[in-house]
Each structure stands twice: as C-alpha cells, then as structure tokens.
Subunit: 342 residues, 2 copies
C-alpha cells in the first residue's frame, strides 16, 4: 500500500533521499534522516522486499534442502538453522526432498532456478554434479551439512572415525562378538553416512583381528527399526552377540526396548552404544557418541553468510569442516559376562 514515494512526499524530500535515509547508504543529514524515519513510522511504511530484490539481486532469504523433518538430527538442524537465519535477518524457505524423486527434479528446475534465495544449505542430501553446477551458474553459494559434496564447503562429523571410536569402546571393554546395526545403502538417504559408519566399524574390528562376517543388519534409522531388528536377532541366546553398535541412537534405543522385552539385561547380557546424543538417550541410559547438530547448523549459517559477504574462489571454498564427537558413557555398556570365554 504505502510506498517509499508516500514517505518521501510526507517528509518533503525526494524518493532517492528517502531511500538513502531508510537504508543507511549514502549521504543523508541527520536532520533529514529523522524526518524521513518519522514519516515512515507515521504511515506505517514497510519496504517491499520484492522491489528491492529486483534491483539489488538480494532476497534476504536462504533455501534449505532436507530429506527428513521428523528424524532427530534433521529436526535439530532445522530448528537451529531457522533461528540463526532469523537472527541475521534472513527468511528460510524449506524444501523437503526425499532423495530421488520427481519432486526433486521439479524443485531444482522450477523452484531453485527462480533465484528466490541468496544461498542454499543442503542437509544430508548428496547433490549431483549437475545440481551443484546449476546453483553455481546461478551464482548462489552452497553449504552442506552432513556429508561431502563436490566443490562445496561441508560441515560434518567424521563418520568413519566416529564408528571406529564407538566400536573401539566396545572392544576395549572386552567384547568380541559385536553386531552393527545401521542404514542400508538403498535407504532414502543416499549419502555416504551409512557406508562410512560401516567402514569405520569394519576397520576397527579387523584391526582387532575380528571378522565382520554376518555382523551387520540394516534397518530404518528409527526406534521401531532398531526394535524390529532387536526382536529378530536377540531372541536366540546361542547366536546372540554380546554387544551392539547402532548407527543412531534411535536404533540403539529400539534395540534396548527389544532387549528388555526379551528379558535380556543391559548391559550385563548385552552392551549397546549409539551415535547421536538424542534427548531420549539419558532416560534409556544409553552410551553414545554425541554429535552436535545445532552447532553444525550454526556453523553452516556463518559459513554461508560469510561467502555471501565476500565470495571466495570455488576451489578455496572446497573444503570440509570436521566437527568433533564426544563419547558419553552411561550404563548401557560394560564388559561381557564371560570376559575370557565360557
């Protein structure tokens, strides 16, 4: 309704001056500025971001691509991203994209190409080269969370090392028969997270001289997922492992619930360790490796906005920020019942 021309008229100055006064760019006398500000306030003027974007090319809005909303890691990231962006004066436009789908193509071709945002944060989505190129051509910086993307600054934990660490914790307690429950490569999340954690597990086991033959089960990264595998695998005491390394806390908790139902004592009969630092971990006394999604999110925002301020070379930006995880030992892990064989 009210345009800057109205403000200018009321304040008795030119549009250009009103614009300068309100945006703080260029020379304006203190006296004029206050006149303009008063006029703007009087008629309840709010600038149209569309008009401004049209000429400046900046939208003050960031696009976020994310494959899940309800899973813990992602909802934490999302919440932090929103907060951090809001603080910096940016809107957040959300694209919830299951890994590969027709929607995905339409988002890239139709939505993202419209340049309604100044930059993109991609959470746990492995973008294809073509998709990265598209964004590059549009001159929109891109930051990733949760896994490396070619030519893009990414913030993540070291999945291989983390899985190693978790496995070594169990090994150091004396476990030899360890089961790893994680995501399948065919999962909707087409990232390397799953295979990396599996790799870390395998390398720790092999280093300890143990085979990983038949010691992996795949399931959804959810509580019912872990519960299902738990019921299926833990039932027979003869084939039961002494410890489980779950690739996420939700899986780990599902396993604990299953164990309790089967009358299996945790940790006496079964040790369980997860990865995440899920808020439920404490009440299930779960030993876990805490990663810090909120920290990852805030870092991503900082990095993206810095890139917007002063664009760097593509090559320079092409690096990985690895965040530490920390082991929180609770009472879901202990040594096996018969440390030196029956």
């Amino acid at each position: 309704m009210r345009s800057i021309a109205d403000v200018a008229r009321l304040a008795g100055v030119a549009k250009a001056t009103a614009s300068r006064a309100l945006s703080g760019r260029g020379y304006v006398s203190e006296e004029t500025r206050s006149k303009v500000v008063a006029a703007a306030k009087e008629i309840g003027y709010v600038a149209s971001p569309n008009a401004a974007s049209l000429v400046t090319g900046r939208t003050k809005s960031i696009g976020v691509i994310i494959p899940f909303i309800s899973r813990w890691f992602f909802s934490e990231v999302l919440e932090s991203l929103e907060q951090a962006l809001l603080e910096e004066g940016y809107d957040m436009t959300l694209y919830n994209l299951p890994a590969a789908s027709k929607e995905r193509d339409s988002v890239f071709e139709y939505f993202l190409a419209r340049k309604r945002f100044d930059g993109v944060i991609s959470v746990g989505v492995a973008l294809s080269d073509a998709e990265v190129d598209l964004l590059h051509r549009l001159g929109r910086p891109l930051v990733g969370i949760g896994g490396p993307i070619r030519g893009v600054h990414t913030i993540a934990i070291d999945d291989v090392a983390s899985a190693r660490l978790a496995t070594e914790h169990l090994l150091s307690l004396g476990h030899k028969d360890i089961l790893h429950i994680g995501g399948s490569e065919a999962d909707e999340m087409d990232f390397k997270v799953h295979s990396n954690r599996r790799t870390g597990f395998a390398s720790a086991m092999n280093e300890a001289g143990l085979s990983t033959e038949g010691s992996f089960y795949a399931c959804e990264f959810t509580l019912p997922g872990g519960y299902g595998v738990g019921l299926a695998v833990l039932g027979d005491p003869r084939t039961r492992p002494t410890a489980v390394f779950a690739a996420s806390d939700e899986i780990a908790i599902g396993v604990i619930v299953a164990a309790r139902e089967l009358g299996i004592q945790v940790p006496a009969d079964l040790s369980v360790i997860g990865i995440d630092g899920h808020p439920y971990a404490q009440m299930f006394r779960l030993t876990t490796l805490e990663q810090h999604p909120r920290r990852q999110a805030r870092l991503a925002v900082v990095s993206l906005l810095a890139e917007l301020e002063s664009p760097t070379d593509t090559d320079e930006a092409n690096h990985l920020t690895v965040l530490p995880v920390n082991l929180v030992v609770r009472s879901s892990t202990s040594g096996p019942r018969q440390p030196l064989g029956a």
Copy 2:
C-alpha cells in the same frame, strides 16, 4: 541474467507478447507461442518471481508459523504442508516461533509485514487479536491448525471430546482411579489444547461420579516428560492409579517405559491410553486416539488456496473444521486387576 526481453528479441516479438505467450494469459497465436517457448528454452530463461510479484502482488509463497519442529505432531504437519504446497507451486517459508518471545515480535513486525507471502498457516500458535489484525490489514488470508483463532478458519480435532472419549474408554473398562498427565497451561504452547483435554477428562470423570481431586500431573509433551512423571508417581503401590490417560502418545510411552522399569505390568497393573497415533505407539502396544496431522495439513492448504482464489467475507471464513479421531485399542489397556474393590 536472461530476461524476458532477450526471449522476445530472439523470438522476434514484443515483450508484451512474450509475456502473454509464457504466462498463458491473453491472446497469442499458437505459432507465436511455440516460437517464444522455443526461444525461452534455447537461452534457458527462468522468470524472475520478484519482478512478477512486484506487479501482480502475488508471491507464490506461503508463510508457516509453528512453535516446534521436532515434536511429532508438528513435524508431521510440516512435512505434509510442504508437500501439498509444493504440489500447488508454492514455496514454504518457515517461522519457528516459541510462543512468546522477542523473536515473535520481530517476526511479526519485520518478517511477516514484508508481505513476502500470499497467505499464512499458523500451526498450534494462538495468535493475538493484534497479530490477526495485522495479517488482515495486509490482505493476507490466514488458516489455523490445532486450535481456534478469532475470526480465522481453523482445522483441529475436538480436544474436549477426544479427552472425554479416552477417559470413557478407561471408565468403561471399570477403572475408577485414573490419572491424567498433560501439559501445563504455562507450557510454551500457549494454546487451549492442554486445558481442553483437561476439561474433557474432568467432565467424563464427574459424569461418572468420580472426583478429579489430585488426579492431574503436568509435564512436557515428550517421552522423557512422561517418564519422569511415571517414575515419580507410580512407585508407591498404595497410591498408584489403575489407569493413566496421557494427553499425548509420547507422554504415554514415557509412562509405559517407567512402568516397565518399576516392574509394573501393563495393562494388568496399569492401563495407559494416549492421544496422537504416534508411529512408536504400535511397538509399545499403546491404545490411543489417532488424530491425523497430515490430513489436517492438507485441508489447511486446500482451504488457504481456496481463500486466495476467491476471498470470502471475514465472517463467513470464521469457522472451525473439526476432524474426527479414532480409537485404536491395543494391549496397553484392560480392566483393573480388582474390578470391584479389594
């Protein structure tokens, strides 16, 4: 980069014609249309939504206000909203607002007032009259999910009736000593959900001639919340209720986990019923009232877009769509151990 003027030049027509050809409005010969479309494709033209919004006043974007992201109901709603909006060609801009905060004011004054969206969906947020008025003045339709807002079409379940139904289920099984665990009015979610469910509980109890004196506990709407109350309340067999009506499935599951740890048999020693239809309900065999957040979300989108198409009178739009809940009986509820007193 490429503007519609480039397309027009390449196709050998005027800007106006190119615009008509691409947008499908007004008269254009089939021949010209295909020439223009081909030209656009050739140079990879993508329209600038900013420029279009500037003149049409439409942004093809919807703002969503939501107090939580990670809690089940909200993440479900969010996921569905995003899908439904995307299908209709709308972007979704997310504002994650804890009920009352300085951020909240800034969102309204700064972000929402900028009119970067055609309409707003408010999920579980009780907007103040002033906030509703602001949106009205901006001419932006508003639809609510999860609780009534003055003068706004809202989609919700009937919380009073649902709580009644849940309580009556327990009563019909013969329970007399029923505890209600729900949210406190002081919770971040300043909606009437909590008090409504409490009212429904109380009225069912009173109708059955039972007192509700001391039969309410408040906690967070989370699994650890219910777990904490469960541990605190269920320990003493003499004061233990025979049934719990939890205001959400997460609370209910927390209670079940606590009960299991305390060695209390569910349902033999304790019946538990929740509200939600949470995906974890099945694995905990929880009897619950399913509400359908995804259905609520899609209805909200339909309603909002209809309102955008053809604005109705404020008074006409001022109504409530009540969605049904359905009782799913699993094995967390049964009759009390001593149906007719010890």
